[in-house]
C-alpha cells in the first residue's frame, strides 16, 4: 500500500500500436511502480511482447510500426522527438528469450554496454564486471575464466551472462521477454530466484507464457488478450480472485 503512494516508474496512457493496418495493441493504459516485478501474461499473439518492446523502443525497427498514446518513464515521454533512443536503452535494459551473448569472451560481453559509452579504464571495467556477474549470481562459476568465450557456456549460464551484461549498464528498468523459456528447469529456477533478488534494485517487467512462473516471481500480473489489457492486479488477486471471466478462463487453462 505504501508503494502505491510513491510515484510510478512507468505510465502508459491509451497506447495503441499498428503494424500497417493491423491494430495490435488496443488502448492499453498501465502504471507500474518502482522496485516491483510485473508479469505480462496471455496467449500467443496477444501483444504482451509487443507492448514490452515499446518500453525500450525496439519496435522502432519494424516496418509499418505506428503508435499513439504516451509512455512515460519517471514522468518523461520516451517517444518525444528529443529523446535519444540510445540514452533510453541505458535506463531500460532487455533480456531476450533465447540467450544471445556476443561471440566474444565473458569479460567482453559484460563490458560492451560500458565500452560503447566510451568507458575504457580497466579498473572501472573490472569492477563493473565483478559487480554485474555477482548480481547475476554467476560470478563464482566464471570468475577464473573471464576470457573464455561466452558461447562455450551452457544455455542457463549464457542467459545469466546476458543478464549481467544488461545490469552492467545500471538500468533502472529491466525488461525480460520469456527469459527462461529456452532453458532447462534447473536454470529456470536459478533465473527465477535471481529475479526475486533483483527487484530490490530494479523495476522488472517480465513476459511469460508460464503462469506458474508468473505466480512465483511477480508482485503484479497484467493479463493481455488480443491486444487489450484485460486485467491488472496483485498476483494473488489475479490467480485466486480474477475479476474478469476471460482472465478466469485463461488461468484455468480453458484456452491459450
Amino acid at each position: 500500500m505504501v508503494k502505491d503512494l510513491m510515484s510510478p516508474k512507468l505510465i502508459a496512457k491509451d497506447v495503441n500500436v499498428f503494424y500497417d493496418e493491423a491494430h495490435v495493441i488496443k488502448n492499453v493504459s498501465i502504471s507500474i511502480q518502482p522496485n516491483t516485478v510485473t508479469a505480462f501474461i496471455g496467449p500467443s499473439g496477444c501483444g504482451k511482447s509487443t507492448f514490452l518492446r515499446l518500453i525500450n523502443r525496439m519496435n522502432d525497427y519494424i516496418d509499418g510500426f505506428r503508435k499513439t498514446g504516451d509512455i512515460l518513464i519517471d514522468g518523461d515521454d520516451i517517444y518525444d522527438r528529443k529523446v535519444r533512443v540510445e540514452e533510453l536503452r541505458k535506463k531500460v535494459g532487455m533480456v531476450f528469450q533465447k540467450p544471445n551473448p556476443f561471440p566474444k569472451s565473458i569479460y567482453e560481453n559484460v563490458i560492451y554496454g560500458l565500452r560503447i559509452q566510451g568507458i575504457n579504464k580497466k579498473s572501472v571495467l573490472d569492477e563493473a564486471v565483478e559487480r554485474s556477474l555477482k548480481r547475476a549470481a554467476i560470478w563464482e562459476e566464471v570468475k577464473d575464466n573471464l576470457n573464455k568465450s561466452a558461447l562455450s557456456l551452457s544455455g542457463g549460464q549464457q542467459q545469466r551472462i546476458c543478464i549481467a551484461r544488461t545490469l552492467a549498464v545500471e538500468p533502472s528498468i529491466v525488461l525480460m521477454d520469456e527469459p527462461a523459456s529456452a532453458l532447462d528447469p534447473i536454470s529456470t529456477a536459478k533465473i527465477e530466484e535471481l529475479i526475486y533478488e533483483l527487484k530490490t534494485q530494479y523495476t522488472i517487467i517480465i513476459v511469460t507464457h508460464n503462469m506458474q512462473q508468473a505466480g512465483r516471481v511477480s508482485d503484479k500480473v497484467a493479463f493481455f488478450y488480443i491486444g487489450e489489457l484485460i486485467e491488472f492486479s496483485e498476483t494473488k488477486e489475479i490467480f485466486i480472485n480474477p475479476k474478469k471471466e476471460l482472465t478466469q478462463n485463461y488461468i484455468t487453462g480453458r484456452f491459450g
Binding site: 525496439m58 540514452e87 533510453l88 544471445n100 551473448p101 561471440p103 549498464v169
Partner: protein, 286 residues
C-alpha cells in the same frame, strides 16, 4: 515389363559411369595442364630466373621486374579495393536496406560483375591514363583492377554480414549502441572471416588478370624495376603472354616457368582463403 526395368537400370548405371567420367575429365584436364607446365618449366626455376632482368637471350631473361610488378599491383589494388568494397558492402547490408539508391547500386554491381575485364581496360585507358594523366603506371593499373574486383568484395562482404544472426544486433541495440557501434564492435568482427576470405579470392583474381592491363599499356618489355606507383610496369601474366608469342623454344620454357610461379602464388592465396573459411565456419557456430 521387366525388360523395361532392365533397360532403365542399364541407362541408369551407364549414366552413373558417364557422370564419374565427366567429373574425372575435369580433374584429368587439370592434372594434364599442371603436369605439362611442370614438366617443361620446373628446370628453369632457379635463383637467376627470379632475379634477372629481361634479355633477348631466353637463358638470361628473368622475371624480376614482372614479379615485383605483380607484388606492387597486389598491394596497391588491395589498398584501394578493400576499404571501398567493404564500406560498400556495409552500406548495402546494414544501412541501405530500404532506399532506392541502394537498389540502384545493387543492380549496378550485378551488371558490373558480368562485364568483360577488357572493357575495364578501355574505361581505364580513357579516364585514368588519358584524362587523369596517370599514364600507364602502377597506380592506373591498380585502380583498374580495383574497380574490376570491387563487385567480388562487395558480394563477399554482404554474404558475411548477412550470416551474422539478427539476435546479435538486437542485443547490441538493446544495450544502447548506435548502428555504427553495433557494426564496428559486433558485426564486423563476427563477419571478418567471411570478408577476409572473399578479399583474398578477389586479390587472387586480380593477380591473374592480363587483358585490362595490356589495354592501358602495361609494357611487354620494360627494363627498369618499378620503384614508385607512377612508374611503368609489367606483371607476371603479361610476361607470360609476351614470351608465348616468341618463336624461340627457350622463351616457351621461360613462359612455363613463369606460369609455375604464377600458379604457385594463385594456389597459395586460394588455399589460405579456403582454410580461413573452414576455420571461421567452425569457430562461429551459430
Amino acid at each position: 515389363m521387366s525388360r523395361h526395368i532392365d533397360t532403365n537400370r542399364l541407362k541408369d548405371n551407364l549414366f552413373r559411369y558417364f557422370g564419374i567420367a565427366c567429373t574425372l575429365f575435369g580433374l584429368l584436364m587439370l592434372g594434364v595442364f599442371l603436369f605439362s607446365v611442370a614438366q617443361q618449366g620446373i628446370q628453369r626455376l632457379d635463383w637467376q630466373f627470379f632475379t634477372s632482368l629481361p634479355s633477348r637471350k631466353p637463358e638470361e631473361a628473368g622475371i624480376l621486374i614482372p614479379l615485383l610488378g605483380t607484388i606492387w599491383i597486389m598491394v596497391l589494388t588491395s589498398l584501394i579495393a578493400i576499404p571501398l568494397g567493404v564500406a560498400s558492402g556495409i552500406y548495402l547490408e546494414e544501412y541501405g536496406k530500404k532506399n532506392r539508391i541502394a537498389s540502384l547500386i545493387e543492380i549496378n554491381i550485378t551488371n558490373l560483375a558480368g562485364v568483360p575485364s577488357i572493357i575495364y581496360g578501355l574505361l581505364a585507358l580513357e579516364i585514368f591514363v588519358r584524362i587523369l594523366g596517370l599514364g600507364k603506371s602502377l597506380i592506373a593499373g591498380s585502380l583498374t583492377l580495383a574497380l574490376l574486383i570491387l563487385p567480388i568484395i562487395i558480394v563477399a562482404t554482404r554474404e558475411a554480414l548477412k550470416a551474422v544472426p539478427k539476435t546479435i544486433r538486437e542485443a547490441s541495440y538493446a544495450l544502447g549502441a548506435t548502428k555504427w557501434q553495433t557494426t564496428w564492435f559486433q558485426i564486423l568482427p563476427a563477419s571478418s572471416g567471411g570478408i577476409v576470405t572473399g578479399v583474398i579470392l578477389a586479390i587472387s583474381r586480380a593477380i591473374g588478370e592480363t587483358a585490362p592491363l595490356i589495354v592501358i599499356g602495361a609494357m611487354l618489355y620494360i627494363t627498369t624495376v618499378p620503384t614508385s606507383p607512377m612508374d611503368d610496369f609489367s606483371v607476371l601474366p603479361i610476361q607470360i603472354f609476351n614470351w608465348l608469342s616468341r618463336p624461340q623454344k627457350g622463351f616457351i620454357i621461360n613462359a612455363t616457368a613463369a606460369i609455375i610461379v604464377l600458379l604457385a602464388i594463385t594456389f597459395i592465396l586460394n588455399g589460405i582463403a579456403i582454410s580461413l573459411r573452414n576455420r571461421w565456419q567452425k569457430k562461429v557456430k551459430w
